[in-house]
Amino acid sequence: MDAYFYIILVVGLLSTIICVAAGIMKKAPNDTTILSVAAVELSLVVYLVGSVVRVASGEQIAGEPWEFWGYLATALLLPIGAVYWAILERTRWSNFVLAAVGVTALVMAARMNQIWY
């Protein structure tokens, strides 16, 4: 597990906790929850940029490269989809949808780490 994973671990868990708490408090998606998901997206972008740099500088991915990039591309789409959804229906339930992003990103980052090493 590398630093990218731990960044996503922390940011993803924080985002999930914030969104679940907001959902339990019966709040509609607000700046806090949407920004927390945006932070997950940002940390995934950091992972993407870091991975591109590492591959460009000659590092080899141990597993299937296309599997790694597939995971990363899908993970990058999740926060965007969830936020889009949360904007379409502004109820407390959308906060639980947003909460799912952090955990999912975390699981996918763990899998990406396994593929890389």
Binding site: E64, E67, G70, T74, L78, A82, Y84, W85, L88, E89, T91, W93, S94, F96, V97, A100, T104
Partner: protein, 188 residues
């Protein structure tokens, strides 16, 4: 894409101006029930756009959205995983990987039918979720008791342990949700 379809379908729900239901029998309350499904989203243009009056499809709002979102994540991951397994190592365990593909199809069907309004979509959802429940129970049990013949991973192996038992929980929650939001019986 799907969202836009939902929205347009939803608005067409409200004006169920089909000849069958425009009889005096149907009060304003029944008009918007999910069962009264218009054939095409395009009929929304001819129907009166009265969005505030009757609740249209209620299966894809509130907790239903969360359910659809989780199903969508499973549909994507199961499809990707099955595709990967079949493309790279199908000969190792054809049965397990075909099961993976089957599970992926079930998740895709469940996701789409849960998101769609209408009576037909409701029935499709019930069937898909039931198949999912049977699948996770049977494959889960087989992977526990007959681990020699089921050594290869599928989404449903060991009752979905590799996925935090969500595959086991999901159809149960899905059935509860579908029961609570079942369409009203058809009026003659």
């Amino acid at each position: 894409m799907e969202e836009a379809e939902n929205v347009s379908a939803k608005s067409s729900q409200d004006g169920t101006g089909t000849p069958a239901v425009s009889s005096p029998m149907t009060g304003p309350g029944e008009a918007g029930l999910p069962g009264a499904r218009s054939t095409e989203a395009g009929t929304a243009d001819t129907a009166p756009a009265d969005t505030a009056a009757a609740p249209a499809n209620t299966r894809n709002t509130g907790p239903g959205r969360l359910l659809i979102a989780v199903y969508a994540v499973f549909a994507i991951s199961a499809t990707a995983r099955a595709g990967y397994q079949i493309l790279t190592k199908f000969s190792e365990a054809p049965l397990a990987y075909l099961l993976s593909a089957f599970a992926a199809v079930v998740y895709v069907v469940a996701t789409v039918s849960l998101a769609k309004p209408g009576r037909t979509a409701f029935k499709v959802s019930v069937v898909a979720v039931l198949v999912e429940l049977v699948g996770v129970l049977v494959v889960g049990a087989l992977s526990v008791f007959d681990s020699v013949n089921f050594p290869h991973e599928t989404v449903w192996s060991l009752f979905g342990r590799g996925y935090g038992f969500i595959p086991l929980l999901l159809p149960i929650l899905g059935l509860i949700w579908l029961y609570r939001r079942r369409p009203a019986p058809l009026k003659a």
